[in-house]
């Protein structure tokens, strides 16, 4: 509980202070613009998926990325395909995704170009959804496939098909075995926190980017705890383990 309150305070502090620390380039996120640009040149659509889960942080992160991608696509006149469905909790995410894409068209001043049929619902079953996405990939041959969000085992079907149809693939894996295979299959991969931090990273607002600092602070704490804990444990005391268990 203490940890939660502390992290809350630190994030709030950094959001308010808005200091711009150095932020390392994340290749996968930088590549989004390039991928959309290339699709525009080739006159091909872009596929952007948001996963098959309900509102967990993977899906929410995907929605922030979708916001960015759809805005970019509309600006460059690229058709954007957002397949939805696939899971028991995914239905509630669909209206939000619709809203995001619709808003992108609205903000660019051409709401009449919005095509609701480009957000197909492919049932609530994981592999029916996958079959559908693979089919769309093969038929529409997009120039880029940005697969983020709560994807599970089906991630490889989507990523490898996207590679085979010649799309630039930007992916993120929700668990480590998925990350390992996606790292081999796709052009760019968002590992670990790169996906949840995408919203802050892509935002132009320095205050948002400053929040990335907090993540490093907590990773620093965890490294310190592991090293200190191991040191003390080696000396024979289990103080840190008890501290963490309390």
């Amino acid at each position: 509980m203490f940890l939660v309150v502390a992290i809350f305070v630190i994030v709030y502090y950094y959001l308010k202070s808005g200091k711009i620390p150095y932020v390392r380039r994340v290749a996968g996120l930088d590549a989004i613009e390039e991928a959309v640009g290339r699709s525009a040149e080739m006159g091909k659509p872009v596929m952007s998926t948001i996963g098959i889960d309900g509102f967990n942080y993977w899906t929410l992160a995907a929605l922030t990325i979708l916001e960015h991608v759809s805005r970019d696509c509309v600006k460059k006149g690229v058709r954007i395909l957002v397949p939805t469905g696939g899971g028991d909790s995914s239905y509630i995410v669909r209206p939000v995704a619709e809203e995001i894409v619709k808003d992108a068209y609205m903000l660019e001043g051409n709401p009449e170009d919005y095509r609701p049929e480009d957000l197909p619902f492919l049932s609530g079953q994981q592999y029916a959804y996958t079959g559908g996405v693979v089919g769309i990939l093969q038929r529409a041959k997009p120039g880029a496939c940005i697969m983020v969000g709560g994807h599970h085992s089906e991630a490889m079907n989507i990523a490898e098909t996207a590679v085979l149809v010649g799309a630039i693939t930007i992916t993120s894996g929700t668990y480590v075995s998925n990350v390992a295979v996606l790292a081999c299959a796709s052009d760019y991969i968002l590992i670990g926190e790169e996906s949840p931090a995408a919203g802050a990273y892509l935002s132009k607002d320095p205050a948002q980017r400053a929040s990335i600092r907090c993540q490093d602070i907590y990773k620093g704490i965890s490294i310190a705890l592991i090293i200190l804990g191991t040191f003390v444990r080696t000396l024979g005391s289990s103080f840190f383990i008890q501290l963490l268990s309390s």
Binding site: F55, D88, P95, G124, Q125, Q138, R139, V181, L244
Partner: protein
């Protein structure tokens, strides 16, 4: 003799499965579309049935059992449905916000234990105790975790010792990816073997499997040679 129902299940299932495999041919085909649309259609039907049952079993039965508060589920649910008419789409925001808050809370509340505290706790191991094997295991894991984590620092400029440690972290990460890749392959191979085994056990199914394989392969190549693959697949 085999039960005709079971036979029909086998024939239809096997044929559609082989159609699904046709995606590996690398070109869109009507065979794949057939399998895909069948699957999406029936799966959507299944989803509807399952959700109606959930609403009935949890919601209606719950309210009948005196759990009046569950009626809010119905109210919020109906409010989201108002989106169909753009004039009232305003109403759907509240249920979305409530669901988002609850699901986010649910996904985060345990994460801090399982993903953070437990992992740190498990990483704290004695480095000079136990058998030689334990020592090797403990040292390797300890070093790997520290170096890999240092690769994930974003707001500190990478230079000096951190650069070195991040580089080692990256190398260690790729080494572990190799091992994990192989493990994943084992799993996927298991699933593929399982899905084929579905069509080979019991043995009377074997000829049907071979026939379906042959039919789909021949059809695919013939359609490709006649340039019909593209013409028969739906537009996207």
């Amino acid at each position: 003799m085999t039960d005709p129902v079971e036979l029909s299940i086998m024939v239809v299932g096997c044929f559609l499965s082989m159609c699904m495999f046709s995606t590996l041919y690398g070109k869109s085909s009507p065979l794949y579309s057939l399998a895909e649309e069948s699957y999406i259609g029936f799966a959507t039907g299944l989803t509807i049935v399952m959700n109606l049952m959930y609403i009935y079993n949890t919601g209606v039965v719950g309210i009948q059992g005196g759990d009046w508060i569950l009626i809010f589920g119905f109210i919020l649910g109906i409010a989201t449905l108002l989106r169909i008419n753009p004039k009232y789409s305003y109403f759907s925001r509240l249920p979305i916000a409530i669901t988002l808050g609850a699901q986010l809370g649910l996904s985060l509340r345990t994460q801090i234990y399982t993903g953070f505290i437990d992992q740190i706790k498990a990483s704290i191991v004695p480095l000079f105790e136990g058998s030689a094997k334990t020592l090797i295991y403990n040292w390797t894991t300890f070093i790997c975790v520290i170096f890999m984590l240092s690769f994930f620092l974003y707001t500190i400029e990478i230079k000096g010792p951190i650069k070195l440690s991040a580089k080692i972290g990256e190398y260690l990460m790729y080494a572990s990816f190799g091992a994990i890749f192989a493990q994943t392959f084992m799993g996927r191979l298991g699933l593929f073997v399982g899905s084929i085994q579905n069509f080979t056990v019991p043995p009377w199914k074997k000829p049907i499997l071979i026939a379906c394989m042959a039919i789909v392969l021949v059809a695919l190549i013939a359609l490709d040679k006649l340039n019909l693959l593209e013409k028969l697949t739906p537009e996207e």
